[in-house]
């Protein structure tokens, strides 16, 4: 009976924290934040460091060039990435594209691309969303015809750096499916967009008869899409958890050291209880995320339930903690100079990245009722 990460996993986490503290401190995040519109919103050095450590392949089987450690290790890495706000295409590449490949790729596709992700620094992403449709939207307008993709996907996360995209589209028979596309072709046009979190990269991508490979044809599209989302939801929940925890620590540190009315402001119940509530939200979210990690790592058939629950409480906890951390910092928390807003921005980014809350709530109840 054990509901904690193992000592080995905690060691992975410690090492990850040390690496990120050294290589991706908030000054690095801020450097990306301050970049102008023409620059890519990803920190290349941090990303290369992560690739060298083999993190993208931590949960990829050894047969595909990965470390084959498993999802629990990936979860602890995700928590640290979330805590550090590291500006890399890790989530798009690893939580989303690699999992889509594993689930929907043909054997040949997996053999070709997974090793490149695991150790080669290949950046990949998903192009599923068509603006207002959302991941939860039913209607796909992207067309697959005459061996090419035609249409527009917005937003695509990390598209500017991605060499490979998994794209959803409908074929001439009107059936939805997954397609694998290399971006290095003139018929793929990527337009960067301003994000609410400028330390992350988003774009609109236009495909004009772009060459692409169909992925597995024998899949239930909706079910596969569901598994991709569920797995990603657990992993993103750990990023959210890491961010929320960082906010709580910032708030407690600051309010202990900030004096007003002759006392540390942390001694005022309005702030003490605010922080107690942040702790409570995090503990609930953490417990649900652990359940998600367990479910993901064991291939348990309650993954959908666990993923919905993990995602919903992590999104709520991060919103609460990031906004109340700003509040606990008073006027200073509202300055560009302090780091509070970096987390507040990231909280919204991560809350949006897998669609509406309502989608996850409906999915949960459909699963368990």
């Amino acid at each position: 009976m054990n509901f904690e990460f193992s000592e080995e996993q905690k060691l992975v986490q410690q090492q990850a924290r040390q690496f990120l503290t050294e290589q991706s401190p908030l000054s690095v995040v801020r450097e990306v934040l301050e970049r102008d519109a023409s620059q890519v919103r990803i920190h290349e050095d941090v990303w290369q460091g992560i690739v060298k450590l083999g993190w993208p392949g931590v949960a990829i089987d050894e047969q595909y060039g990965g470390l084959g450690m498993g999802y629990l290790e990936l979860c602890v890495l995700a928590e640290e990435l979330g805590r550090s706000l590291a500006p890399t295409p890790f989530s798009s590449t690893v939580y989303l594209a690699a999992e889509a490949l594993l689930l929907a790729g043909t054997e040949a596709q997996k053999e070709r691309w997974l090793p490149a992700i695991a150790t080669g620094g290949l950046v990949a992403g998903l192009a599923f969303v068509e603006a207002t449709n959302g991941i939860a939207g039913q209607a796909l307008n992207m067309r697959w015809q005459d061996g090419g993709l035609q249409g527009r996907k917005t937003p695509v996360f990390d598209a500017e750096m991605a060499q490979l995209l998994v794209v959803s589209a409908i074929n001439e028979a009107g059936e939805p499916g997954f397609y694998l596309l290399e971006t290095d072709q003139p018929s793929v046009r990527c337009e960067s967009l301003t994000s609410i979190d400028p330390t992350r990269s988003i774009a609109a991508v236009e495909f004009s008869k772009a060459a692409a490979d169909p992925m597995r044809q024998d899949l239930d599209f909706a079910a596969t899409m569901g598994v991709i989302q569920d797995r990603a939801a657990v992993l993103f929940a750990f990023e959210q958890l890491g961010g929320a925890q960082a906010c709580l620590e910032m708030a407690t540190d600051y309010t202990r050291q900030r004096y007003a009315f002759g006392r540390p402001i942390a001694s005022f119940q309005a702030l003490k209880h605010k922080m107690a509530d942040m702790f409570v939200a995090i503990e609930l979210a953490r417990s649900n995320a652990y359940y998600g990690a367990w479910s993901l790592s064991t291939g348990s058939d309650d993954l959908t339930e666990a993923a919905c629950v993990a995602r919903l409480s992590a999104s709520d906890a991060y919103y609460q903690c990031s906004k109340e951390n700003m509040q606990a910092h008073g006027g200073m928390g509202y300055t560009w100079e302090l780091d509070c807003h970096l987390y507040y921005r990231r909280a919204q980014h991560l809350a949006s990245v897998l669609g509406r809350q309502a989608y996850w709530k409906d999915r949960l109840i459909a699963e368990v009722a």
Binding site: T252, Q269, K272, A276, V280, A369
Partner: protein
């Protein structure tokens, strides 16, 4: 991460299960009475004696005091398994859960040997006498006095919120032995014979109409000094040991209204359609589902820590803090869904035997019992997050110079 038992744990669980299947009372052999009925109390005592005689009582206590000398994990396994049966264990939670451990820490050898095995077998029922009408969240602000009289003490004052006082043979009582010392310094703990002269128990009627608690009045109740637990004027330390166990016990069973709600909402129809087809109802239900899952999984993490030899800290407050308000809000929401029938508390007429009407009325009690929401948040803030304490204007002040309780202005 692994939810499975180790081989030794699995074997222990198997034994527990077998014994329970053979010995636990069937639901239909029990009286309908709750914690307030004499009949239920008799059934509880019988059950406790049976598990004691079979070697299942107080698993973590040393054998010499009536326990089995096992670890917390066996206790957890027992609790999980026994929860599947309709047994009556609640009566002894305060004695065995709170008073026992404190006696083990602070009692003399003679006290331990004479008191603990009888407690473990429910030969003696125990209660806990700390709170007073003027000392709730501020327990150390209590005024019940114990005055030295030769080798004995005379106790005068009033205690409140005492569960099982009407059945109890003994109680641990926190008293003020020196009101000229600062408030935490002048307290002494005793145990007292609840059946002796000068002790009067009166039930308290609660806001929901129930009577689970009592007031206990002490008028020159005599306690020999050998019934002192711990040092003279050292009672606060003993009290903390008891209260820590209370928090843990409470943290583990916090009701939140969810099981009843989940049962109800899947059956309820609104305007002829399943309630869950309404997206507002569905998503609000999802919110509570997620919160309940968080509580359940947090509890699993706590048990897992115990299983691995750890001791859960103040974060155990979380379940009761979250659960109490959740119970209140979920009941109010259920009553709202029932529209005008929400007001009908008639067990025959109301939906779900009026259990949401009842929960609406007892939920405010959950938010104060065992520490108010506000005290719980203070505990989390100070003990978990290490935030500074409130400014204490009564610090170091002689107790008899501190304003306390209700003061008309």
């Amino acid at each position: 991460m692994d939810f499975k038992d180790s081989p030794a744990q699995a074997e222990f669980r198997h034994k527990v299960r077998q014994w329970l299947q053979a010995n636990a009372p069937a639901d239909n052999t029990l009286s309908r009475g709750g914690m307030e009925s004499d009949e239920a109390m008799r059934e509880g005592r019988e059950w406790q004696a049976r598990i004691y005689d079979a070697g299942w009582a107080c698993l973590t206590w040393p054998k010499e005091y009536g326990g089995q000398g096992l670890t917390a994990i066996e206790q957890v396994i027992w609790s999980q398994e026994v929860a599947k049966f309709s047994t009556r264990d609640g009566f002894f939670a305060i004695g065995i859960g709170n008073c026992g451990p404190a006696i083990m820490l602070y009692g003399s050898d003679q006290q331990k040997q004479s008191l603990l095995p009888r407690m473990a077998r429910a030969d003696d029922i125990w209660c806990q006498l700390f709170s007073e009408p003027g000392a709730g969240s501020d327990v150390a602000g209590l005024k019940t006095r114990a005055d030295k009289d030769g080798d004995s003490w005379k106790i005068n004052g009033q205690k409140i919120w005492t569960s099982q006082a009407q059945y109890a043979d003994y109680g641990v009582i926190l008293t003020r032995t020196d009101p000229t010392l600062p408030k935490h310094k002048g307290l002494t703990m005793f145990f007292v014979d609840m059946k002796q002269p000068g002790v009067e128990v009166r039930p308290i009627k609660q806001a929901d109409g129930g009577q689970a608690f009592n007031e206990v009045f002490f008028n020159d109740a005599v306690v020999p000094d050998v019934q002192r637990l711990g040092e003279l004027n050292g009672g606060w330390g003993v009290a903390l040991a008891v209260l820590m166990n209370e928090r843990l016990a409470i943290g583990s069973v916090a009701p939140n209204g969810w099981p009843e709600y989940w049962d109800m909402i899947r059956k309820l129809e609104l305007d002829g359609k399943p309630a869950l087809e309404d997206s507002e109802v569905r998503r609000r239900t999802a919110d509570w589902y997620v919160k309940n899952a968080g509580l359940k999984n947090a509890q699993a993490r706590m048990l897992s820590a115990v299983a691995n030899g750890g001791v859960p800290g103040a974060e155990a407050s979380l379940g009761k803090l979250v659960g109490a308000s959740m119970c209140q809000d979920i009941s109010a929401y259920a009553l709202d869904l029932f529209a005008e029938m929400g007001v009908c508390a008639d067990e025959q007429m109301a939906l779900m035997q009026a259990q949401f009407q009842k929960a609406y009325l007892y939920a405010p009690g959950l938010r104060v019992a065992g520490g108010t929401d506000e005290v719980m948040r203070n505990i989390i803030a100070e003990q978990v997050l290490g935030l500074p304490a409130d400014v204490r204007v009564d610090k170091g002040v002689p107790f008899n110079e501190i304003k306390a309780g209700n003061i008309r202005q």
